[in-house]
Symmetry: C2
DNA sequence: CAGCTTTACTACCGAGCGGTTTCAAATTCG
DNA sequence: CGAATTTGAAACCGCTCGGTAGTAAAGCTG
């Protein structure tokens, strides 16, 4: 019933659902869930409240829709970054460099919507364990990067998993750093540190 | 004016301020700032609202008091963990082991109050950049651990800093993992991964 | 005991919250 | 054209939020 394209009949919409969702994603990302009021949502979306409730259900459902959209988008971004990184040890460096570029971008400064949401709403949004999902999927993606960067076959399975796990945890931590208002220089230092670690592997 | 011990004169308090603050720390830690209502605070503290406001000022000031207390407590804990870890490469392993024990404890499951608060309230609590403070102080502490574990003197300054930064970011990420409802087995795997990395350094 | 100070406790408050009702306007289809 | 359907737009609603008055009670000091 929610977030479904309207039928052909009836008065045509004045709003673009995708555009609105992108706008609201940025809003939640910036302010968090609880600190975002329906008034903020109305203002940011340009829609009126009844249209919002008719289209998305409720604030909570709207946030769930935003989260699902974000998760898919984010994983696509990871996938692309990894694809662009190539193979061999340089792939790890390339990936870190690309990630840093995103980190110091305007959006990057807000960290990760998933990490933010999970910290704020752990267990209060029913039926959707987004935080755990995010971590698993991110880990999955990073494992392909690790496989491309350190091709060791079965014999190195233990190390491959360890590298993947450290990278996953490190990136989650970097999200926290990003959201905590770190400067581009600070972020650069944290990324440089991981470059050195990668060389030690 | 707030959180000051009462004078000797007048009706004596029925509540223990330290005990109440400890209780409220746990409450905020569990539920986050926005999701904790004054009713929750009243119930959890056993105090009545006017007493709370007289003693602590407001919800926001109360949270600031809780955060400062927590920060000090937390840094003391880090300091102790590091002191117990000894020196040499085994210090790094010992530290990780001790940290894991805390991570899988009841309190540990909630991650870190500072990380949670910074993700939720970035920039809304005036005049106190707790997230950045926390990261800097944690980094400071970890640098002494690194110095004890890899005594390389001035020549290894660059590596020392990199190890410190990776450890800092990794631990922040682990806090996210902890709060996202990871099982003890998952946490153990993430910590094991860092054990292997430490050996590679 | 009288007077002063501080706390305990009930009741209450305005404001802003998420959510709804209502009706006019715009389009499609018979 | 006119009935049906969907959206736009404004006003409205109950509730819970953070925060206060006002008063009784309990301890010190003289």
């Amino acid at each position: 019933m929610s977030a479904i394209a309207s039928t052909a009949v009836g008065r045509p919409r004045l709003f673009d659902e995708e555009r609105v969702l992108a706008e609201l994603t940025a809003l939640f990302w910036r302010k968090g869930y609880s600190q975002t009021t329906m008034s903020d949502i109305v203002e940011s979306s340009g829609m009126h409240k009844p249209s919002l409730y008719r289209t998305f259900g409720s604030k909570e459902e709207l946030f769930a829709i935003v989260l699902r959209r974000y998760l898919a988008e984010r994983m696509q971004m990871f996938s692309q970054l990894i694809a662009e990184s190539g193979s061999g040890i340089s792939a790890a460096h390339k990936f870190l460099t690309l990630f840093e570029i995103d980190a110091v971008s305007e959006r990057g400064r807000d960290g990760c919507l998933m990490v933010m949401a999970s910290n704020e709403l752990r267990g209060t949004l029913p039926g959707y364990d987004f935080a755990s999902d995010y971590r698993q999927q991110m880990r999955q993606q990073l494992s392909t990067l690790v496989a491309a960067a350190w091709p060791g076959g079965e014999s190195e399975a233990e190390f491959a998993r360890a590298r993947t796990d450290v990278l996953t945890t490190y990136l989650l931590g970097l999200h926290v750093v990003m959201r905590s208002g770190a400067s581009a220089e600070e972020i650069h230092e944290y990324v440089q540190a991981m470059h050195l670690t990668v060389d030690a592997w």
